[in-house]
Symmetry: C2
């Protein structure tokens, strides 16, 4: 069979920083155009490849082709069992698994939809997956979706929601030589920051997965001039919430936490939000994947595009060879062993189904 | 005698935003060049006018000729007893008093030095007064100095020092979905801000003047990205300290207050500092000014150029017709009554000395 490390290296060496996915998509399209029985649909810089074998079930494998910007790591470089280079972990090794499956598993036990999409690493509004879901939602129908984001060969179930909130606390300007004529908005943060520092996050367990939540300040900014008592300060919070809570419930919770530190006139607004995805581990295809390969299973704490599949009614999980903890670093790499373990599991699932 | 409100209006109508003082300085120089017995020295856009009558004492009157930028108030406009316009309060009304004294009091009981200087409203490093003190310190020798900054006819004694300090607190980056892998630097501010919010300032009384101190945050900034636990936050503090403390003592005090909230690796540095000036109310000339005119006396809480005179060994106080609380506002004005009260006191002091 193909050396998946070499295939990943080939993909790394095709530059595909976000919004520049045309070349890599064309290359993948070229590879798949010669595979019998695959129906290819290109929409923008996204490519969907589908088998249409009339199987009882359909599995969707999805991965983004773009990378974060180059960080002196544009070329793939093999060092023993490790392949270094931009996108090795996030997520051209996952793309290599999808590509190899599409090229070689021509008689799967389930129908398969391969989704190669653009612009995942930038603003959600630019997402190629959203573009596909808008343009041709029918192309993405499936019984279960696996997203090849880096999980180091662990099945990371569902995902948590994420919410960003912007708070403004106000005061009153005065000369700093006479601060008692005004009110310092920055000083007003003390209680709120203490509440965040001592916040006790929930860790609900859902289908055996522990979704540890989080709430924290990710930005603070305030000040007028060196001799002026500041009359405004802004804090941006990020809340990660388990998939047992809706967006509305999560927002209500954050408001409960911060409201004691706000006063009339202060403001709080949700800047952006994306709901989570439940683990769906009871789905027979995910059960087969886990049990036949003895996979480790855990909750996905970060937000991923599995939430988009979940929102479309498709049970989804994260499963890829990369290591998320080194994603987006200059020294990212993928290990041959992780790549081959993920391949074996995917190959088995597609060939044998439940 | 001259209508001082009209003279102030004439000065207001000569634009002199900082670094553009050439025209107003030339105009003042023209006015004084015809006064017998005045020795004029122009250095850059600064002008020094001195009597040399061999009197036992010398009083220095100083004022800056520049203004903050135009704010739709470039032209003087009289409305009843109020003169509106840029610089009416800060401090062309004070300049009018100096100019009128220099033009009309040709036989003062004390020698007089009039100092018209440039660029007070911008960075201290550009100060015309510093330029003079560097170039010709001999020209500024005097027994006492009065600075015509706006005090609404009150004698504001000495001034407080001011110090700006920059603190950096550090943490450790992590993904916001796994904040326990890092440490939130913004959250670490909670204790420091609480200490500042509940700070109990000293109010030492010196020669009957209460110097109420202050310590506060004037700027805060931190944050990396919406999904990153912030590893750094910066806070800028402003400390106003009474003239019974040296710069070193004031810095030691701030360090005492903030150190409990700092850890190894955090930083604190003094960004800029200017010492205060003691009240010097026991000087016979200041005593005469206060008692013969029944002046209200209070501590100057803001920092002014009296500190430069104090540093040069010259007792100094603030005394001008403008109202500091409306300085730098679009609607600044000066009242005829305040202008004439200050004039009467200055006229008396120069004609009669102690």
């Amino acid at each position: 069979m193909t050396d998946l490390v070499a295939l990943t290296a080939e993909l790394v060496d095709i530059p595909s920083v976000s919004r520049n996915e045309a070349a890599i998509t064309a290359w993948i399209e070229g590879e798949l155009s010669v595979v019998p029985g695959l129906e290819l649909t290109r929409i923008g810089d996204n490519l969907v490849a589908r088998t249409n074998l009339g199987r009882a079930q359909r599995i969707l494998l999805a991965g983004h082709t773009d990378t974060v910007p180059v960080n002196d790591n544009a070329q793939a470089r093999l060092d023993g069992s490790r392949l270094y280079g931009l996108g090795t972990t996030d997520m051209k090794s996952g793309i290599a698994v999808m590509l190899e499956a599409a090229r070689t598993i021509t008689e799967p036990a389930v129908d398969v939809t391969y989704v190669f999409y653009a612009r995942e690493e930038i603003a959600a509004s630019e997402s190629g997956l959203l573009e596909l879901l808008d343009a041709r939602p029918d192309l993405l129908h499936a019984d279960v979706a696996l997203l090849g984001e880096p999980t180091d060969g662990v099945l990371e179930a569902g995902c948590q929601g994420t919410m960003r909130l912007r708070l403004e606390l106000f005061g009153e300007r005065a000369h700093t030589a006479r601060p008692w004529m005004g009110r310092n908005a920055i000083h007003r943060l003390a209680g709120l920051l203490e509440a965040l520092a001592t916040y006790e996050a929930r860790t609900p367990e859902i289908q055996g997965c522990a979704y540890r939540e989080a709430l924290q300040a990710v930005r603070v900014e305030g000040g007028v001039a060196a001799n002026v008592v500041p009359d405004q300060v802004e804090v941006v919070l990020n809340h990660r919430f388990a998939p047992d809570r809706s967006i509305a419930q999560a927002e209500a919770h954050v408001r409960d936490v911060v409201t004691p530190w706000l006063e009339d006139g202060d403001t709080i607004e949700v800047v952006d939000v994306a709901g989570g995805a439940p683990p769906s581990l009871d789905h027979p295809l995910l059960q087969a994947l886990v049990h036949r390969n003895d996979l480790e299973v855990r909750a996905k704490l970060g937000w991923t595009d599995v939430a988009r599949f979940a929102a479309a009614g498709i049970p989804a999980a994260n499963f890829g060879p990369g290591d998320a903890t080194i994603a987006h670093t200059a020294g990212e790499y993928v290990e041959r062993d992780a790549l081959e373990r993920v391949w074996v599991a995917v190959d088995d699932l597609l060939r044998n189904g439940c």
